[in-house]
Subunit: 598 residues, 2 copies
Amino acid sequence: MDCLIWTLSRLEKKQLFAKVRKECFVDCGQRLLNCYSFFSDLSLPFSSTLRLLTISQKQYRSVLSQFHDKNPKNDRTDSKGKEKILIGSLVAGIFGGYFYFYKQKNVAIAERKKTGFGAQARAGKFREDLPIYSLDEVDKHTANDNRIWVTYKEGVYDITDFIEGHPGGDQIMMAAGSSVEPFWMLYGIHENEHVYEILETMRIGNLSKQDQDQMTSDMDDPYANDPKRHVILKPASVKPFNAESPLVLLCENFITPNELFYVRNHLPVPDIDPKSYALEVEVEGHNRWLTLTLEDLKRLPRHTITATIMCAGNRRSEMTKIKPVKGLNWGAAAIGNATWTGVRLRDVLERVGVTENEEKLKHVQFEGADFDVAANNYGASIPLWRAVAARGDVLLAYEMNGVPIPRDHGFPIRVLVPGVVGARNVKWLTKVVVSEKESRSHWQQNDYKGFSPSTDWDTVDFKKSPAIQELPVISAICKPCDGDTVEVERGHIAVKGYAWSGGGQKIVRVDVSADRGETWHVASLDVQDSAEPPRHWAWTLWSVRVPVVGGSEEAEIWAKAVDSSYNTQPESFANIWNLRGVLGNAYHRVTVRLATPP
Amino acid sequence: MDCLIWTLSRLEKKQLFAKVRKECFVDCGQRLLNCYSFFSDLSLPFSSTLRLLTISQKQYRSVLSQFHDKNPKNDRTDSKGKEKILIGSLVAGIFGGYFYFYKQKNVAIAERKKTGFGAQARAGKFREDLPIYSLDEVDKHTANDNRIWVTYKEGVYDITDFIEGHPGGDQIMMAAGSSVEPFWMLYGIHENEHVYEILETMRIGNLSKQDQDQMTSDMDDPYANDPKRHVILKPASVKPFNAESPLVLLCENFITPNELFYVRNHLPVPDIDPKSYALEVEVEGHNRWLTLTLEDLKRLPRHTITATIMCAGNRRSEMTKIKPVKGLNWGAAAIGNATWTGVRLRDVLERVGVTENEEKLKHVQFEGADFDVAANNYGASIPLWRAVAARGDVLLAYEMNGVPIPRDHGFPIRVLVPGVVGARNVKWLTKVVVSEKESRSHWQQNDYKGFSPSTDWDTVDFKKSPAIQELPVISAICKPCDGDTVEVERGHIAVKGYAWSGGGQKIVRVDVSADRGETWHVASLDVQDSAEPPRHWAWTLWSVRVPVVGGSEEAEIWAKAVDSSYNTQPESFANIWNLRGVLGNAYHRVTVRLATPP
């Protein structure tokens, strides 16, 4: 991706930052409008303008030539250069806002740094043995022929030879001639000792003190407007906010209270005014579209379901023990069960003429109001058959457990695709596109996919795996937790947990063992909704009393679930390990100490 | 079940055998008609008559009293007794036909017996130390108050105290006062050393020589009219015929030729005249029904799919190695892939007013023309949602791979429920009933269900598990076979096989390891149809070249598949073992000897 952004000077970026940021960093509907007016002098539709942000140099020139044809009397002497500035600056401005972060890193990270351990603590520190460069100097190094430089805190680095091996691909070029810090804040994966070690191997100099100060001035924290959260939520990352509740609370209620429901945000939380909210629905290539306000949506038939949502990375922390993976270090609580009320997507699609009989169009793409440093909105898609299926129950939901969907969960509208991985349940929904193609978003194409245990970052080809949709069968022991001391009553201990399967499958059995699979005890399925496959969307809470060997001081408890297609969980993480740490549905195993009352 | 059959004398059974057998043991439609006329003097509808065969004594008396009300002038002096004879004789007659078997046991069994090993060889042999009884005497022992006796070859047994513990439940009472042999022929599970051992513990006497001869006279072999089969088919049982082709042939073609397609028969193969064939379609409790001839069916829109069918017991022989199970000893070839042409069940149901909007009725029951010794037709059911789903593709098929469905596979009509266990794909279909309830057949209620590994025949409760419908993901290595010697080429060996998953899921990856899971090699998915979930009904043929450790003489190859819901196979059979030996989808493992060319 030959993104334009690295051809712009720091000055150009800064000049237009305030204006772009002010006009664009609002809710998506409003933003579209504002940005359109901002770029109206280019006589290009806004969608084309947005597309410019990521097109190649060649495509860019072609669009510009169209522009010149349309504006022959444009009196700018260096219009080509200025347009480049304008367009590029939109991107620059949007991600410029993230610069402020490094002054505001969250307490946990700051504290870790205070301890001064390892590569992370040393990275970017002033080094007496290296020369000092100004930002302007760094800024000249944005292409291979003149080497590519970046900064991190006080350090200057030449990353030219690293680019090809960067696991995140060309995205790294966004930081060329500039600081990597906003990107690393956005993509938490970089916060890793190994990454800091690699970085320092590319160290070539120090950044001038004056420029360090300049970089931190007059910039906002895009996460400053995130909602307040309940303190019980245990963050896996703070910006963006990702958190789960304590596992032990999870199986206390069939319905997870909104405040305890795990939060999975990829980006800052948009703040959408429900009065000006508008949902665009489009049938690609058919010139059929529709715009619906929140009130319009609420006037359509109301539909309520109870459904579990789970993050593909739930239980990643167990998989990591086999071998490190890239992703948030989730425990087993990146899952929750709620009632969702809204309008059936199928009813909305019917209004643009898309029904179960549709043959050619295969996907429904969703776009959220949240967007990244390159102005890519969060996006995902699901197969069309699922969206229009009579028993598919795909919702555009406006209520969660009887109240308007909280901001963290997608206010005012989120997609609810029951039985399908959380990542496709797009929050802050602003656009629905029926298309022949899947969503082109990073999260559909290059993330949320499964791979063989022997596939690593050198061999991975994201094109070769399908995007995760329906999730496999899973279970977890919620109580006792790993390391707990448990009271033995008449030779037994009490165990409880959850089980769930994607695709509307029902849990038909949960087996629990306290002797490493020698004997299995069938758990009681305590709470389960009455729906049958293919519409069994909610999880099952289960409990069982398992005998333990008399006199033992410790027991390892295993749980595995079986769903209505009689699929069951794999035994261990070793053979399902994958580089992104998703789909971690091996047996859940907890080790507890046994206390026998006198 | 207080079945009437054991209240009849042997004489009564024999007297009516010939007539009932002649008139009833034909194709189902014809049989219904014949039997109706046979029982017309009772002025009862045939369905009630059939029901009489399994009702309780109390219900029986109630029906008889209705009959007397309707026939006040009946001049029979002992009409009650005679009706009992008539009704009971229908059953007796039907199963009487199986008596001839013990003269005709298949060669394999006979040869095993010649070797004279074990309990089976000793069972039923004349014993000098015990008294001799006549059949009439045995026949008096048909109820608990007078003890319950049965015969096996020359032996007489008192089974009164065993009945409660009989794994097959009350079915055993069918043999009270008579021989168990026809039942044991029908239910091959009895051919087991352990069963013969138990039998001999109940031995009380010998059967008179004269009666032994009498039992074998003038009776037909109900399997005599079974079709001829290709010699390549390797039988798991001969009567009924169950057989698979050699595994190595299976992955040679995406489409399995009809002659090599595994055969799973529960009973003798009906011989149906297509000209008189009639399919009854009924909506229970709604007085809506329809009768369709074969020509009627063929006039409905024609639909073709490519779909794999698999027996729930495929790969049972591997599970048995953990601990014995009850069921046919299938290898990994009780599976096949074919094109099926017929009419959509959904189109047929629409004609009786059942559509996707149906709320109350939940199941579609199927009945085959094949029936057991108690005149129970083979039956099964599927959920209604599946039958009417737009993308469900459930067929009433009349062609298999472009020709009329062969007799072994259900001529003239079989149900094809793609993605669902073979047992629901009812052959020789004669009846479709849309109902609030599942099929009440033994095969739906007390068979083809999964259980926990710790559930045994003492603790099993068939009501607690759902009938298997969609099957879990599975794979098998077809080449090399276990024990083969394989040539090593440049450090690699070639491996190929099949993979499949139920419910329309697609195979997205097959991983193969030759070092016990240390490294996994992603197989090439060589043949796969282009359909996407939820309509991906056909299997996937795969191949891979796997490196082996230099200098090794042996390698253990493992294969596991991943489907589009990212469900994967469990590692070993130990933790999925179940007493019926179904759902055996653990990793497939074969051990081969390695030959390195000089």
